[in-house]
Symmetry: C2
Subunit: 402 residues, 2 copies
């Protein structure tokens, strides 16, 4: 799986292409890709009617996309339709793939997703990363990436980029882990420790989890707050289909919203933060359980078995989440809240007190709270799909073009 | 001052024009207007180099803008420059103007701002609007609008639109006041009660105050939180130069962020909201003062005179603001906080405790807090300038074009 050089590093959907004839052509190539990706297989005529260009203009664009291997022709459409039969176009299942990686506190994972959005290869290693130095962790992650890339190559895929989800704050350079308290990493530039032959994007796991929900969730609106937890509690704010990142890239730190301003001291230097009431450690302590592996599974099993101490701990965590979310909803007015990550598995015991708190604290109908179907898979899938989206958003930005 | 019919209602800077030759031309017209507005007077050649188009292309665009009266030629540039002297272009001080209106709890105000950003006419009426029905208030506002429009007409200006700031929540239709508790208005469609001959935009005063800060403030960054107060406490969230409005248009309700979740009941149905500690009424009560006219002036005078009870009340309000802002900063990670509206006048007594709270609750350097120079003028200026910006953003969208 050789990685052709890139004309430019693929970037997010927000990227503005220059307002020239050439920029217009690139944007129109993206429109064709998105139309076929969302609605395909489609004939050239159907693409033209979807995006409002002439059939001739679309044919030129489609020919370019076929030549570069991003679209493929499925052969003539089945007879019986009106008019001359056209060849149906589909997004290619070969060619560029998005490689997603995840550095979890308890595991490493890598997967490859093709332009159709299908996971085509994956590799996982379980075992704690807590307190390990970055170098050995990233060596292991690199090993997994190479394995997944090799698996993809056998199916005709090549990596259009690597995106890595981390449990910590990531700078706006999209490569430096500024602070990951549960790994005890500070100011680690991942780009020097990961394969350099394809474009790299590093982001917070909550952000990739939120993006996964946006792209893959069932009927997810374009304005929502995605709340997730591994050890800490993070949120992704999606506004009109885009992630709100903040000036330094640190937006979404829901875990450090004050819930009881005179409450217990928090690692962040403040007091009474949400994490002191609803973070994994606080909940395990309140439930009388030890901090070990598969903490969420343990909490869920005990709660399901009717352990009243565990249930009360989760109920109180739900109340604290409700207070912090009341503040967030007043500030942001999203259309929905989605609980993802570890919170998804605990939702049955968190939701009643959380929703009751929101109902009591909201004038008018409270914001609906739903549970992600992606659960703990969100960040890894979001990472891989972010690379795929970048290709769809600017097909001419990738290699082999022109 | 006759108002020519509009091709389309001017809309905000976020509006996407269609990606066609015609759309490209409209966007390039906007680029020319913005270049001359920000850097003018400029020669055609200087405009071309600013926006990266050929001199010939720019000349065509400039001719159109002169013909419609949005740009004017100042005559040949002064000699001594290199090359053939060009005629300097400036934004016209005649033609379209933005009409801003403000419905305050204690006053009504209207002003006209020309495309150069200068206030050319204004009218104010003092007196409480608390508990008055919408009809008489809007009749008075209409009277002020007509007076300002007539004053503008004598100077060659015509209204490109009317934008009105209100102390309450406004729906995404930008015309309905959904809830203005301090006026006791609910679901009032202002468009039926204001002059119908030019485009109308209604928005929350905190939003227009934040936009004024963005457009007119001294060195305001593109990511900031603008906090203001009249009776309630509102915030405008500006993200990458755009206002974050929320799904229903209700974003920025900082006043209802819980500070002490078990605190006193709030009108919103929740308990311990920021307004219960830092709202005007709460501060006046804590200071032992009555709710009358010029409440902020009274607080400021007493605090300046050394009244310890007033100072303590403001100190405690600053602490509560610090707690609520800690939550907002963790969620949004803005570059700065700007205190505007009534809060600007009380800043000397609010800031020390507010900043100390932020410093104690923040890992790393706390977000800088500054005080708006626009003070209570912000919402009115923001409203008028929003119309002016809409013209600059899409000059071809206004009348008389083609």
């Amino acid at each position: 799986m050789s990685a052709p050089p890139h004309e430019a590093r693929p970037t997010g959907p927000g990227r503005a292409l220059p307002d020239t004839q050439q920029g217009m052509r690139r944007r129109n190539l993206a429109r064709v890709m998105h139309a076929v990706s969302a609605e395909g297989p489609l004939s050239r005529a159907a693409v033209a009617s979807h995006i409002g260009l002439t059939r001739a203009a679309v044919s030129t664009l489609v020919d370019e996309l076929i030549r570069t291997g991003l679209l493929e022709e499925l052969g003539p459409e089945r007879p019986g339709r009106v008019g001359r039969p056209g060849s149906a176009l589909a997004v290619s299942g070969r060619g560029p793939a998005g490689i997603g990686g995840e550095i979890g506190v308890d595991h490493l994972a890598v997967c490859a997703v093709d332009l159709r959005g299908e996971v085509r290869a994956r590799a996982v290693r379980h075992g704690t990363n807590r307190g390990r130095a970055p170098e050995p962790v990233l060596r292991e992650l690199t090993g997994l990436v190479r394995r997944v890339v090799a698996d993809g190559e056998r199916e005709g895929l090549w990596p259009a980029g690597l995106a890595v989800a981390v449990p910590g704050l990531v700078g706006r350079d999209a490569r430096t882990v500024v602070r990951a308290p549960n790994l005890d990493w500070h100011d680690v530039d991942l780009s020097t420790l990961l394969p350099g032959e394809f474009p790299l994007t590093v982001d917070n796991e909550a952000n990739f989890g939120g993006l996964a929900e946006l792209w893959l969730g069932a009927e997810t609106p374009r304005d929502f707050l995605h709340v997730s937890a591994e050890i800490g509690i993070g949120a992704a704010l999606v506004v009109d289909g885009s992630l709100l990142r903040g000036t330094r890239g640190f937006a979404g730190e829901l875990g450090h919203v004050p819930v009881h301003p005179d409450g217990p001291d928090c690692v962040c230097g403040s007091r009474g933060c949400l994490e002191q009431y609803a973070g994994e450690e606080a909940v395990l302590r309140a439930a009388g359980l030890e901090l070990g592996e598969d903490r969420v599974g343990l909490l869920a099993r005990r709660a399901a078995d009717g352990d009243e101490r565990v249930r009360r701990a989760l109920r109180e965590a739900g109340t604290a989440l409700g207070v912090a979310l009341t503040g967030a909803l007043n500030l942001l007015d999203p259309e929905a809240v989605v609980l993802g990550g570890a919170l998804a598995g605990l939702a049955p015991w968190l939701l009643p007190s959380l929703e009751s708190e929101l109902a009591h604290r909201t004038a008018g109908p409270p914001c609906p709270v739903s549970v992600s179907r992606l659960g703990p898979e969100g960040p890894l899938l979001g990472a891989a799909h972010s690379v795929v989206r970048a290709v769809l958003d600017d097909p001419a930005g990738i290699a082999g073009w022109r």
